[in-house]
């Protein structure tokens, strides 16, 4: 087949200038079936599908802003890690007894390695000419099994993860402005409150104490009677101190 337009290069007599290739594409009626030109006919139709896809993509983007947790703090040993959703099945696999602890290498390396290796070698293991999935039950069966396993492990991981707690442990904590010399803070630092609500009211086992929207009376009530997982009778100091502390917390921004 003659390719190119037979350019004549300066000082090169081996290339013929004759036999120009016409700048007209081959007629598509020469191909079987209802074929059509990739450019531009088919590409425009593809773009219709791409546009619908893009609209969906943009709707997700606008409806769900991408998450950002608080700045990484390597000293926080309470944090329970979780990978991005498409690694959850591997994360779940490592929780099983046969794939963790002394057998960690099985869950972390052997099983994923075998899976990727098998996937890569599929064309060399399934060498029959048959292409229809129902006519080659072994490859189809293994792939469906792998798909079911990934789906099941991902589901188990999602169902067993405490997403509320995960959200709370990663939430961005506002830095609270307060005067450490103030009477309110002195009372706070001397009480048991500080062990759960943090040295700077940033929270810990209990929630952060800034911007609670609670009145002083409500805070006193919680200190006496508890709320949620906080038990009652946590306040052991005097009523006068509690009143000062509650008013201090009410105004803590």
């Amino acid at each position: 087949m003659q390719r190119g337009k037979g350019m004549k290069f300066v000082g090169d007599s081996r290339i013929k200038a004759e036999g120009k290739m016409p700048n007209v594409p081959k007629d598509y009626s020469e191909y079987p079936g209802k074929t059509e030109a990739f450019w531009p006919n088919f590409l425009l139709k593809e773009w219709m599908i791409g546009a619908v896809f893009l609209i969906g993509y943009l709707i997700i983007t606008v409806a769900h802003p991408s998450p950002l947790e608080r700045q990484a703090d390597p000293t926080d040993t309470m944090y329970i890690p979780v990978p991005d959703w498409y690694f959850l099945f591997m994360y779940q696999l490592l929780k099983y007894e046969f794939a963790s602890g002394p057998y960690n290498v099985i869950g972390a390396i052997v099983i994923p390695g075998l899976a990727v290796g098998a996937l890569m070698l599929v064309p060399f293991m399934d060498t029959s000419k048959e292409r229809r999935p129902f006519k080659r039950p072994l490859p189809t069966g293994f792939m469906l099994l792998a798909f079911a396993a990934i789906f099941y492990l991902t589901y188990e991981s999602v169902a067993n993860h405490d997403w509320e707690k995960a959200k709370a442990q990663g939430a961005i904590r506002e830095e609270v402005q307060f005067d450490p010399e103030s009477e309110g803070y002195q009372i706070y630092a001397g009480s048991s409150c500080i062990s759960c609500h943090g040295e700077a009211f940033e929270g810990g086992l209990g929630p952060a104490l800034s911007n609670t929207g609670l009145t002083a009376d409500e805070i006193i009530d919680i200190a006496h009677n508890g709320i949620g997982t906080m038990p009652a009778n946590q306040w052991t100091g005097s009523e006068e101190d509690l009143q000062v502390l509650a008013e201090f917390l009410e105004n803590l921004k």
Binding site: G33, Y57, T61, P65, V82, P83, D84, A108
Partner: protein
């Protein structure tokens, strides 16, 4: 006018055959959703590439603000997310695109698998496709650390420990990725940034080129 420019360039560089190879070819009926609606399954590969292009473009814009150091990485992402005009959209597209590309690539893999399209003569293209899959997972893993927030740091810690459990060379892989045998910090962040922005995209572009050249050489697999 355009024709004249084209002819001027073509006369010197002979670009018509290149153009023919890239764009001027027939699309068979059985992959065309306009003729058979079920042929939309043949769009998954193209949509994967579409999202990949969006990932590259949005990523290029993100690096205009992002700073890969542990003091400022989180702050720069926070600023980008909350202060920069359309920063939330660009970061959002990169964030969701990272998930979508995995979804579309997975669907594309299933399509090729269940239509038996990996069979002779297309074995090599399947192998390249699996390598693209692994590269994409690597991009997802390295990109996850870059915002330097809590989930990023601790998920990467787990990931690095998994890499360290590789027999014989685990420790070396860990040091290569993290930059240190015990600390996961400033060095890790710059390494992950370099891997995410230079090494893996370079590998990805090479693999994609091989993937597409092979498709053009072999054509799409016939109807079942």
């Amino acid at each position: 006018m355009l024709n004249k420019i084209y002819d001027w360039v073509d006369e010197r560089l002979d670009i018509t055959p290149i153009w023919r190879d890239i764009a001027d070819h027939e699309v068979p009926e059985h992959v065309n959703p306009a003729h058979h609606f079920s042929a939309f399954i043949y769009c998954f590969g193209g949509l994967t590439f579409f999202v990949t292009v969006i990932q590259i473009l949005s990523g290029m814009f993100l690096t205009m603000y992002y700073t890969p150091d542990i003091e400022n990485a989180w702050k720069s992402v926070y600023y980008l997310q909350n202060e920069v005009a359309f920063g939330e959209i660009v970061r959002g597209m990169h964030h969701w695109g990272a998930s979508l590309v995995i979804v579309m690539m997975f669907l594309h893999t299933l399509r090729v698998f269940f239509t038996g399209s990996y069979k002779k003569p297309r074995e090599l293209n399947w192998v390249v496709g699996v390598l693209i899959f692994v590269t994409m997972l690597g991009l997802g893993f390295t990109g996850y650390l870059l915002p330097w927030d809590m989930k990023a740091l601790f998920a990467t810690k787990v990931g690095i420990e998994i890499a360290a459990s590789v027999p014989f060379i685990g420790e070396q892989i860990k040091i290569l990725l993290a930059g240190d045998s015990t600390i996961l910090g400033a060095q890790t962040l710059t390494r992950f940034f370099a891997i995410h922005v230079f090494f893996l995209p370079a590998a990805l572009l090479g693999l994609l080129a091989a993937h597409f050249i092979m498709i053009r050489r072999q054509g799409i697999s016939g109807p079942l």
